[in-house]
């Protein structure tokens, strides 16, 4: 069990390290095509990363170890999330159940690392980004946990692999209103957490409208490369999670070369479809004013809440 889980963990992390920049490249490419551009190609994020790793890092006076350690923490937390989420398969370490609460808190470690980097730079921009980022993170939290609650009710556990396995056994449950409401809520939370439209504009150049970008304005070279990679891996893992919950088929229940290969292919397909859909959706959206973001989050909270209430009464009523 442990060896199988270790193999699966390695496969998942490696796959996400390789795939997540390509996913971002794909999303940019979809967007470029819809805008009538040619686009830089899906491999452009990888070219950017390669270049950034070769560049020097600058450290301004007054900044501290957070500037250099923060990016490493972010990448490590994203990698841990990639292990905890059933992306390719549902085999887990016996002592480390893929508990959703644990996953969320590991994700939050990365959030905190980013926020501290923003504050450490000591510029007005960094503080601004950090403050907005944390405000949104705080308000997303109820949606995420209540959605988790809704998902956990049918199986009586917050373990992701159990939830996915249960969905495999009973495909009808995926399309039930409860599950759909919870997934929509979770998806809005993912959008907010990873700084996509309409909460944050990932391609903005205007400091005053930034959230994520403002925090990393001060980072350069390999620090920036780690930060980008870490954020992309988060995006990939969370989209993969939504994908696994929405379309659980093809996910590996045990560790053999064939099942792993099928799981991996399914993961690539799911990520490609979800990423393209997200990017295409973003073309139609304008960024929300910062103080209207709580409305969006309150809405997603209501959906999650309805999912919980309904599932109680539907299951037992």
């Amino acid at each position: 069990m442990n060896i199988g889980a270790a193999i699966l963990a390695t496969v998942q992390v490696t796959a996400m390290v390789i795939l997540s920049p390509i996913l971002v490249g794909l999303m940019r490419q979809v967007r470029a095509r819809m805008e009538g551009r040619v686009g830089a190609g899906v491999l452009q994020p990888w070219r950017d990363l390669r270049k950034l790793f070769a560049k020097e890092s600058l450290q301004a006076q007054g900044t501290s170890w957070v500037m250099s350690l923060g990016p490493v923490v972010l990448v490590a937390s994203s990698a841990l999330v990639c292990v905890l989420v059933p992306l390719v398969g549902t085999v887990t370490f016996p002592l480390i159940p893929d508990d959703l609460f644990v996953m969320v808190s590991v994700l939050l470690i990365g959030t905190v690392a980013l926020a501290l980097i923003g504050l450490d730079s000591g510029s007005a921009f960094g503080g601004m980004g950090s403050s907005r980022h944390m405000t949104i993170a705080a308000l997303v939290e109820p949606t995420v946990l209540v959605a988790v609650y809704a998902l956990s009710i049918p199986v009586g556990s917050s373990s992701l692999s159990l939830i996915v396995d249960a969905r495999l056994l009973d495909p009808a449950s995926v399309a039930s209103p409860v599950s759909l409401l919870a997934l929509v809520a979770l998806f809005i939370a993912v959008v907010a957490e990873t700084g996509r439209m309409p909460v944050d504009n990932p391609s903005t150049h205007l400091e005053l409208t930034m959230i994520h970008e403002a925090m990393v304005l001060e980072s350069s070279g390999r620090d920036l490369a780690w930060l980008e990679l870490g954020s992309w891996m988060r995006l990939g893992a969370l989209l993969g999670l939504v994908g696994s919950l929405l379309v659980p088929w093809g996910i590996a229940g045990d560790v053999t070369p064939l099942t792993l290969l099928v799981g991996l292919l399914m993961l690539i397909v799911k990520l490609a479809v979800l990423g393209s859909a997200l990017a295409a959706g973003e073309v139609f959206l304008a960024k929300l004013r910062l103080f209207r973001v709580p409305e969006l989050l309150a809405g997603s909270f209501v959906l999650a809440f309805l999912a919980v209430t309904a599932s109680y009464f539907v299951v037992q009523g």
Binding site: A32, M34, V38, A40, K51, L58, S220
Partner: protein, 162 residues
């Protein structure tokens, strides 16, 4: 515009980017690590905004400089290339030096437009500190008043090599 209207517009418009011209012969001593990916920080050192319009066009859908791996960024910390326009006014001389200094190495500086190269029509004006080359080291110059987007894209392609 409604959702359906936007979908129609997207479908009707299709691709607006012009076909890529052949890769210019670059004899530029560019750092090998910048191949394929160049992040650009733009500094307006005292321009009349004519060059800005052209730069915007170069990164717009028609010329689409992004397809060659160049991208505008918000901070010199993220940049490899500083794109300077306009004569350097007295108030902008120090910020320009700081911006170049804030860019991690290997880095390059491109002076865009005649003003940036040799002060153009503003030469000798009282608020002018000099051309870009007088303040920081310039690696590449793009002539023109203002230069055409094509020229700017050519210069960028010399750096990215795509």
């Amino acid at each position: 515009m409604s959702l359906i209207g936007l979908v129609r517009l997207i479908r009707r418009t299709g691709r607006v980017a012009e076909a890529a011209p052949p890769l210019p012969e670059g004899s530029l001593g560019r750092p090998a690590s910048l191949a394929g990916s160049v992040q650009v920080r733009h500094v307006d050192a005292g321009s009349c905004n004519g060059c800005e319009v052209e730069i915007a066009a170069a990164f717009g859908p028609v010329y689409d400089a992004e397809r060659y791996g160049a991208r505008l960024v918000a901070s010199p910390r993220h940049a490899d290339l500083v794109l300077v326009t306009g004569v350097v006014t007295r108030n902008m001389a120090q910020p320009l030096r700081r911006t170049v200094e804030a860019t991690p190495r290997p880095r390059m500086v491109i002076a865009v437009g005649d003003c940036a190269r040799n002060c153009g029509v503003f030469a000798g004006a009282y608020g002018v500190a000099g051309a870009v080359g007088d303040v920081v080291d310039v690696d590449l110059e793009v002539p023109g008043c203002p230069p055409e987007p094509d020229a700017i894209v050519r210069a960028l392609r010399q750096v990215t090599g795509r």
